[in-house]
Amino acid sequence: MTEALLTVSNVVKHFPLTRGVVFQRQVGAVRAVDGVSFALAKGETLGLVGETGCGKSTVARLLVRLLDPSSGSIRLEGEDISTAKGDELRRLRREVQIVFQDPYSSLNPRKTVGSIVAEPFVIHGLEQDKAGRRRAVQELMEQVGLNPEHYNRYPFEFSGGQRQRIGVARALALRPKLIVADEPVSALDVSIQGQILNLLRELRRELGLSLIFISHDLSVVRHMCDRIAVMYLGRIVELAPTDELFTHPRHPYTRALLSAIPIPDPTLPPREPELTGADVGSAADVPPGCRFHPRCPRCEEPRCTSDDPVLERKDGSAGLAACHYPLQEMQPPPGAAKAAG
């Protein structure tokens, strides 16, 4: 059995809330990530989807060690990233890189594109020779579809899509094994998102990259990922191969997300929202039992309000779901029924 490239075990990240006049004592915590586990095989792309407050961006930051976990482990090829220090950490950082969401604020406006992409080399002491560095950077620029002659231009001279390509080039510089893409296309126009997504797919194929793709947009994630993890208030509530997630979601939240996607077909009947009107919970005040129960149309006491469901296989599915009463029926999206018929 091949060892997984990345193994995340019970990772927890709590941000403490304090009160007190003289001495601050902890009265609670924002449970941003509350016990997340998954494995990523080499060459696989895993999607992480969820809405505001689900914790997916926190997971992204934990994976690249921008944050330290409160507990749990993150192992890259067996080595624990979350506790590494010094040289060991620096070495591990070269294997995991991140592409950020906002192409307008994630690039230093005072640096040229060339120096932005070259920075990883400089930090890690690679390509000491200036000319060699320049060549390496221009190669990267070509690889991501940018004109290498624009080496000396500044970010403001590029469009949003092009800036995102710069971000990708920077992430690729050190030839990482794993790239974490945190909503890489959400800030771009829909008609251009495909350009960056196709680029990532091509690079993935060429370079044998493994990818963690974070997004709130299920339709985008469907085209990029082999498996998808759905997050809600700090936990994974469903983790399944892409096709199975879309044709037979087992968790009510997944189904609600799927049916909330607006379909560009005016001949279909209007959708009814699947959730109860309750407000989205907050990670500072996680509901007891199943954390989704206040919004779940299938919530049944007493189990759902007191037992926290475990993420496990349900009725012979390939994927995992954390639900006491998982959905049994197949749910093809409304458009598919039309296309097939």
């Binding site: 009160r19 007190g20 006049v21 003289v22």
Partner: protein, 320 residues
């Protein structure tokens, strides 16, 4: 919110103690001159100096001295005795506080009345003649030295020596008896003191308002059909005002602590600033020490007031 205030108050008290300790170390442990000699005066002999040293407890170890000092301070509000005037420092300070307070408050009213509206109008009519001339004038007022301006105004308007004899001149505060006379005598000093502040506040209000008017909620306010006047004042200025409140608190604190020293000197107003100046000239350590401590007190108190005001003005800040 109450928790926050309580915490800040406790910290404030702690800070005052720390401040007094630092002041003490500076003045007693590392003096520029021998306090006993200074106290003794010009024609003292060795024996007298020794005697004084004993009386003042200067031969005690430093922590003893600090303990005595703090005890006096907290229990009796005793700040020591002025070397120069031979009166309790506390008396001196409380004597000099009212003119400084009067001077400061008047200046504040002046500079707010002048600076804020100027800033607002400049922001609304950007790049107009009014705006450009305002920018130039404020630059001049910020750059002009206070004493220069004071002397020029005296030259122009002082009752006794001015070209156009309108306002009371130098030293008139001391002679004034009624409140109204005092106010009259402070008119020119108010103008002088508030000039640079008015200029600064006008500029801050201008840039703050320009920025605030770019925000999305201004667009919403207009889309609701509100009058432009209301949009500017209730929505724009309301936002731009908050940093100015912070600034105001600090400026007032510093002025009360005696920072109007130049104005007081030029117009011969017997305030805290002048007292500090004289004390420094004469190496009157207890007075200097007392003034610095009072200054620290004002600054700590006003900082707290400013923070509370800020939390009141910006509801997003409240729950800490």
């Amino acid at each position: 919110m109450l928790q926050y205030i309580a915490r800040r108050l406790l910290w404030g008290v702690a800070l005052l103690f720390i401040a007094s300790a630092v002041i003490f170390v500076i003045f007693y442990a590392l003096p520029a001159a021998d306090p006993a000699e200074l106290r003794a005066g010009r024609q003292a002999n060795e024996a007298q100096i020794e005697e004084i040293r004993e009386t003042l407890g200067l031969d005690e170890p430093i922590y003893e001295q600090y303990w005595i000092y703090t005890k006096n301070l907290v229990l009796h509000q005793d700040l020591g005795y002025s070397y120069e005037f031979d009166v309790p420092v506390r008396e001196l300070i409380f004597d000099r506080l009212p003119p400084t307070i009067f001077l400061t408050l008047g200046a504040v009213v002046f500079w707010l009345l002048v600076g804020i509206p100027t800033g607002i109008i400049s922001a609304i009519r950007r790049r107009s003649v009014m705006d450009r001339s305002m920018m130039v004038t404020t630059l001049a007022l910020i750059s002009a030295p206070v004493f220069w301006m004071g002397l020029v105004l005296l030259y122009l308007f002082a009752e006794d020596v001015g070209q156009v004899q309108v306002f009371p001149g130098i030293g008139s505060y001391i002679d004034a008896e009624t409140l109204w006379q005092k106010a009259e005598s402070l008119f020119l000093p108010w103008v002088v003191l508030s000039a640079s502040f008015a200029a600064i506040y006008a500029r801050y209000m201008r840039s703050g308002l320009i920025e605030a008017m770019e925000e999305d909620y201004i667009r919403t306010a207009r889309a609701k059909g509100l009058s432009e006047r209301r949009v500017v004042l209730r929505h724009g200025v309301r936002s731009a005002m908050t940093p100015l409140v912070t600034l105001l608190g600090i400026d007032v604190a510093i002025l009360l602590a005696g920072n109007a020293i130049l104005t007081e000197s030029v117009f011969n107003i017997p305030g805290l600033g002048r007292l500090t100046f004289t004390a420094i000239e004469r190496s009157d350590l207890p007075v200097i020490q007392g003034v610095v401590l009072i200054g620290a007190f004002f600054i700590i108190v006003f900082n707290l007031l400013v923070d509370i005001a800020y939390a009141y003005l910006d509801p997003r800040v409240r729950y800490r």
